[in-house]
């Protein structure tokens, strides 16, 4: 049965450009599942999408508590989408706690669909409600739809053998069915997902399908909704195969693609930590690509093992989040000194210290650039969105191998777990990845092998294949003589090596494109962004541009080194706005490097920046 086509009398049908929906419920309520399946249905409907999953820190806080609320926000539109959306158009609240925690995000007159069955005295109390908000008029400014979700599920499954727990657990599919009806998403794709999920468990399969369709039918048949919405497909993007992808998945794929291209097996040393662990999980299953994952005893062992593997010739990677990154710094310094290629992924989360493990933030920039003892410069790149994490990762590998150095990738919680459509690259079209490999001792000069001799262009030292006769060499963390790599305590040599290591970083800029500016290269306000604030900044700038303002946007993919034409660009605007989810870290880096006037806009709330805030900031900086 295809329920994509409705047979009931057609209600008012409104066509929208863009919709933001949010599912919210208990951690056990399957909100992430409902959200990601609606995402899939939306991308297959041809919309552009962006998502923002919002987990609780507890594994499973007691059901019904505020601490246990799990949310999933989905933005889908007929136009390009760069953010998960500021204000929610439709909120599904599975219980009072979910309502209490999320109602702030719903726009005035937004649709509010609640599971009335959960609004019991106990549920209300756990959510901290003195009065039932469904009855006390406090929700008057929203369009409230009260649905007896639990009861409706029970009804839908009356004929089955399912226990009451399993019935209760299926209610996310009812909500999903209803939302799919409301926004005219096809059910087929969800049905396929359910089929895959419950393979081998026919009774659960049937039950969940029944509930899903029940949700749809409820929308269709009940008198509750007098309106349905259509969001027409976005204009077809570049031709190709598309898929939906999260940032963590994209990193894993980027690594594998780079590994295949470079002809080097991946060694992935990691210690689990939220929100980075999924990269380990994704790679652990990819042994057919020669991926060796190593769950180390701690972060230090993880990075050290990776460094050992790098010395051995592997494509070495380590992966963590903020606190783990702090622990790895001493060993990253060793990578700097030994000039070995190493990719370090830091999926930033709220801090300081343990902080807010499940929330996003972009406050590890200074730690990445400067957080080691002594002058220990490391290249830093940041993806701007989930799908872009593929490219950023791929580039990180390129640079690490070409220049023989550690490279830090700064992702964050929003990118890691957020999802968006991605045009899958053709493996045959991937950019080349080269390394200064050295696998024979032939052609060495009189002095034999010089592990610290350099390629004049890349400044890379040779990557000798261990096991090759005649290439034996010894490396370590003590200062070394240029050329021989022998230990050196000489003053001048030390100064020169310190300067050289910095030059190796600066030199990367010669291999990178200049600034890619959205808008004119001069004007009133230049918005500079990095990482996951890309989408919000771009959207805000575009809106200002449409309003005829002289505002441009430049997004920095590489944070160290910075693009060579950035200084000039910054000076070409009356003022510069640098919005960040930290206290102005990129702003400090830019100030230290260039002469320009600017403003730092910061909000560190564990959530993506809102387009509206940025619009207001830009507005305030424009000449009146």
């Amino acid at each position: 049965m295809s329920m994509g086509e409705s047979t009931a009398p057609v209600r008012r049908r409104e066509t929208l450009e863009s919709v933001v929906v949010r599912f919210a419920g208990d951690s056990g309520d399957g909100m992430q599942l409902a959200g990601s399946q609606m995402t899939l249905a939306s991308v297959l409907a041809g919309n552009d999408v962006a998502t923002f999953p919002d987990f609780p820190a507890e594994i499973r806080a007691p059901a019904g508590t505020l601490a246990g609320v799990s949310g999933f926000q989905l933005h889908f539109a007929s136009d390009e989408v760069f953010t998960p959306g500021d204000a929610v158009d439709a909120l599904v609240a599975m219980n009072p706690a979910a309502l209490a925690k999320n109602i702030k995000s719903l726009r005035k007159s937004g649709l509010l669909i609640v599971n009335r069955d959960a609004f019991t005295a106990r549920g209300l109390k756990m959510a901290g409600y003195a009065e039932n908000p469904l009855q006390d008029g406090s929700l008057a400014e929203y369009q409230l739809f009260e649905v007896d979700l639990s009861r409706l599920c029970r009804d839908a499954l009356a004929d089955t053998e399912l226990g009451s727990k399993e019935v209760e657990r299926s209610k996310n599919y009812f909500a999903l069915g209803l939302m799919c009806w409301l926004y005219e998403r096809q059910l087929e794709v969800v049905e396929e997902e359910i089929a895959a999920r419950f393979q081998g468990k026919p009774h659960l399969l049937d039950a969940n399908l029944a509930v899903l369709r029940g949700g749809w039918a409820y929308g269709e048949n009940s008198e509750l909704f007098r309106i349905r919405f259509a969001v027409p497909p976005a204009p077809a993007g570049a031709p190709g195969i598309y898929r939906n992808i999260t940032g963590n998945e994209a990193v894993a794929l980027g690594l594998i693609a780079a590994s295949v291209q470079a002809g080097r097996d991946i060694f992935f040393g990691s210690y689990p930590i939220t929100p980075a662990s999924d990269v380990l999980h994704a790679l652990a299953g990819q042994k057919s690509f020669g991926v060796r994952t190593f769950q180390a005893e701690d972060e230090i062992a993880a990075v050290c093992a990776a460094l050992g593997a790098a010395w051995g010739g592997q494509l070495a990677v380590t992966c963590t989040s903020g606190p783990g990154m702090a622990l790895k710094q001493e060993a990253i310094g060793l990578a700097v000194m030994t000039e070995l290629p190493l990719v370090i992924l830091d999926v930033q989360r709220g801090g300081p210290s343990t902080g807010l493990p499940t929330k996003t933030e972009q406050a590890d920039l200074l730690q990445a650039i400067w957080g080691r003892n002594s002058e220990s410069p490391v290249a830093v790149v940041a993806p701007r969105s989930p799908s872009d994490a593929f490219d950023a990762t791929y580039e990180a590998v390129q640079v690490a191998l070409r220049h023989m150095m550690p490279v830090i990738i700064l992702s964050d919680g929003a990118i890691a777990n957020g999802a968006e459509p991605w045009r899958v690259p053709d493996p045959a079209q991937l950019a080349p990845i080269t390394a200064p490999e050295l696998a024979t001792a032939e052609g060495l000069g009189e002095k034999g092998f010089l592990p610290y001799s350099r390629d004049p262009l890349t400044l890379a030292r040779p990557w000798a294949r261990l096991g090759t006769p005649g290439l034996q060499h010894r490396i370590g963390g003590l200062e070394k003589s240029e050329g021989t790599g022998h230990i050196s305590y000489d003053s001048d040599n030390h100064h020169n090596m310190v300067v050289l290591r910095q030059r190796r970083i600066d030199n990367i800029a010669n291999f990178l494109p200049g600034c890619d500016v959205t808008g004119d290269r001069q004007g009133d306000v230049l918005v500079v962004s990095w990482g996951s604030t890309y989408g919000a900044c771009l959207t805000a700038v575009r809106r200002a541009q449409r309003a005829g303002k002289r505002v441009s946007h430049v997004h920095l993919r590489w944070l160290n080194p910075l693009p060579s034409d950035l200084g000039e660009l910054l000076e070409s605007f009356r003022t510069v706005l640098v919005p960040e989810m930290n206290l102005g870290q990129l702003y400090k880096v830019l100030r230290a490097a260039y002469d320009f006037r600017g403003h730092s806009y910061t909000r560190v709330a564990g959530m993506p920046l809102r387009v509206q805030e940025l619009e207001a900031e830009i507005e305030a900086l424009l000449p009146s």
């Binding site: 899939l40 991308v43 297959l44 794709v189 077809a236 570049a238 031709p239 190709g240 195969i241 598309y242 898929r243 939906n244 794929l253 594998i256 693609a257 295949v260 060694f267 040393g269 990819q286 042994k287 057919s288 690509f289 020669g290 060796r292 190593f294 180390a296 005893e297 062992a301 993880a302 050290c304 093992a305 990776a306 460094l307 050992g308 593997a309 790098a310 010395w311 051995g312 592997q314 070495a316 001493e330 060993a331 060793l334 045009r423 899958v424 690259p425 493996p427 261990l466 096991g467 090759t468 006769p469 005649g470 290439l471 034996q472 060499h473 010894r474 490396i475 370590g476 963390g477 003590l478």
Partner: protein, 338 residues
């Protein structure tokens, strides 16, 4: 290099051209030369061997080897070596460390490498002191030791390196002393031959900051009475006149004089290095002077799957059907825009 001719090696083929910079008289010299010799006998080419170390006097070792070498950071050599060995199972990986490097800052990596049984040969130079940082006590220093950092005497109960190894499920445990070249050579040969983590405590004299730490064990006169040279399958007999033996009473090893009370070699505890149960090794590892002779030689050598081999086996199996990048990238759900 002509791969056809089998190569034979001399000890000096394993020495690098770097000046050795230990203090004159340091026990490390004897160990270095024993390792050069053992590798020559083993007959694996220098380029097929990698030495990894941490930081400390002992950890300077790789510079003096003609093999591949990595002088890493303090305490982390086991982790670096693990990564290397997983990626490059074809290389023979040795690790050189000190009592501080291995058991103080590096304790966790040490116990994890042993637990995993990564195929790495670990030489722990135990001089019961921090040499490189000029004389603080270490986790093997005796209780009450006065050092720069413990002017009134340390109040730390020391580790026994080999007992720590047993706590960590080590498959190979051995001990030797710097000055006793024959036992050291024998132990190094067994170490080279073991598959899995081979963990060796080498008692080493730091003549600058802890001179004489092992005097009772190393002095030519007392050595035979103070050390028990273990040999698999042999009864435990020792003493200058080989007139003493070890018997096991219940769970307790005791010294007996052979010939007295009708006791002969045949009554002595027979060494079984291959016993899968580590209890024997635990008893041996805890035997200590002066009450008992200190065992040297191979205390335990049993087989258990190596982590690195198992990882590579999983990869090899999976690779029988090599990954298809296109298939991986497009994933399970996708759509086409044309």
């Amino acid at each position: 290099m002509d791969q056809a001719t089998p190569r034979t090696f001399k000890a000096k083929d394993f020495a690098s051209d770097q000046d050795v910079r230990w203090c004159p008289g340091c026990g490390d010299y004897a160990i270095l030369s024993a390792v050069h010799k053992a590798l020559a006998i083993q007959g694996i080419a220098p380029e097929s061997i990698a030495f990894v170390s941490g930081i400390g006097c002992s950890s300077r070792f790789p510079y003096y080897m003609s093999t591949y070498g990595f002088h890493t950071i303090h305490g982390r050599a086991p982790a670096v070596a693990t990564g290397l060995k997983i990626g490059r199972p074809d290389l023979q990986v040795w690790l050189v460390t000190g009592d501080g490097d291995a058991l103080s800052i590096g304790g966790n990596h040490l116990i994890h490498v042993l637990r995993r049984n990564v195929d790495i040969k670990i030489l722990l130079f135990n001089n019961r002191i921090y040499g490189l940082t000029k004389g603080q006590y270490s986790p093997t220093s005796e209780f009450g030791k006065k050092t720069k950092s413990t002017p009134l005497g340390s109040v730390d109960h020391p580790f026994s390196p080999l007992v720590v190894g047993l706590g960590a499920e080590a498959t190979f445990l051995a001990r030797a002393i710097d000055v006793d070249a024959p036992v050291l050579g024998e132990v190094l040969a067994a170490t080279a031959a073991h598959q899995g983590s081979a963990y060796v405590e080498i008692l080493q004299n730091c003549n600058i900051f802890n001179d004489g730490a092992w005097d009772t064990l190393s002095a030519k006169e007392s050595r035979a009475d103070a050390l028990l040279h273990l040999r698999h399958g042999q009864p435990m007999v020792f003493g200058r006149a080989r007139d003493k033996g070890i018997v096991l009473r219940g769970l307790r090893p005791e010294v007996v004089t052979l010939g007295e009370g009708g006791l002969s070699e045949a009554d002595c505890w027979v060494h079984d290095a291959h016993d899968p149960d580590p209890t024997r090794a635990f008893i041996l590892a805890r035997m200590w002077a002066p009450a008992l002779p200190v065992p040297v030689g191979v205390l335990r050598a049993v087989q258990r799957p190596c982590y690195d081999a198992a990882v590579n086996a999983q990869v090899a199996t999976a690779r029988a059907t090599p990954g298809d990048l296109h298939k991986l990238l497009v994933g399970r759900k996708n759509w086409t825009v044309s």
